[in-house]
Symmetry: C2
Subunit: 204 residues, 2 copies
């Protein structure tokens, strides 16, 4: 793993030659000039890992709910009436594809960072390289913005569709609403990660 070699430093003390050799191939890495403060919620901490797992679980649950809708490729069939179906069809399809794409991206991103966090915790090292934290911050910002946008537009459409119960085939509405709620919760747990990363970048 390239990321771990370039950016994982011992958490307890600055790396000496002995520590670098003992840590498995990290001997020729640069010593960071200023130690960032290492508080819970940062990458490489248990709080950060818990946040990542929450993000991944909620995004993945939302994704599964959308994917296991029996007629996912033609999931536009929210209603039986032919005209209404045509009305709602394309926009719904666009929105649902967007929701699936956003939660899929969110879950992949969170899973990757959870694995990196687990690795950093296992080798007792701290992920505090400036470039890596910058990368994590930008990724968190993009992923959370996309997830929030998908959740909001889904919520708008859900309110519109659910408003008149006649056109709401009950199972699909419930699934769509649950997936929307999962996307909101996933966004809400991504926000602290983003803010912690940005804070640690600025206060380095």
């Amino acid at each position: 793993m390239n990321v771990s070699h370039a950016s994982v430093h011992p958490a307890e003390y600055p790396p000496t030659t002995d520590a670098g050799e003992g840590g498995g191939g990290g001997g020729n890495i640069e010593v960071p000039r200023v130690r960032m403060k290492d508080f819970q919620g940062m990458p490489g901490t248990q709080g950060g890992l818990a946040l990542r797992i929450c993000q991944f679980v909620f995004a993945a649950v939302g994704l599964c709910i959308m994917a296991t809708t029996s007629d996912f490729p033609s999931v536009t069939a929210f209603c039986d009436d032919e005209d209404l179906q045509n009305l709602y069809g394309d926009a719904d399809a666009i929105n649902e594809i967007y929701l699936v794409a956003a939660t899929g991206l969110q879950s992949l991103w969170s899973l990757s960072l959870a694995i990196i966090d687990i690795y950093a915790l296992l080798v007792m090292r701290s992920l505090q390289n400036y470039r890596v934290v910058t990368f994590f911050t930008i990724g968190d910002g993009i992923a959370s913005t996309l997830t929030f946008a998908a959740a909001c537009s889904s919520a708008g459409i859900t309110v519109l569709i659910d408003n008149d119960l006649d056109i709401c085939s009950q199972n699909h509405c419930v699934q769509f609403e649950t997936a929307t709620a999962m996307a909101f919760i996933s966004w809400f747990t991504t926000l602290p990660s983003f803010l912690f990363n940005l804070w640690s970048l600025a206060s380095r």
Copy 2:
């Protein structure tokens, strides 16, 4: 203005007793321990003022477009068909009220902070009090989140309504879409203010 007395400090040099008396009633204010860096985009700078004016203008234009829709109180009449009107009615009304509320809050917030910025620029002082910047940051975060959520749900509903052109009374759709675009632009200009404030808080 209570805010200015409590938080506006001379920008050029740390306040001495003379400077405090010369600055009009600021003699007994605390000297901040650490000077924050004063870069463009921060509150009290010309860049920050330009951002605030952009936010206010776009939010106000969106608000005016929504408010000047001829039948605003019954703006739910996107369509002529009775059934479709009933379908879209309430959800649209809820969403439009939310969009109006969010852009209204955004424009009020941005106008207030633009006035504070103008005051700080006129008296040549720097708005770098820790509590004031914290307040600005939280306010920016809430305002931008609300505006973005309103814009996203409006965009979702607009796509849904505009999908079948038969139910889109053209004027209203155009107005609704323009207001949505204005809300997006307003959010996009609020984001740098929020990030600059958070960055300056963290790097104090």
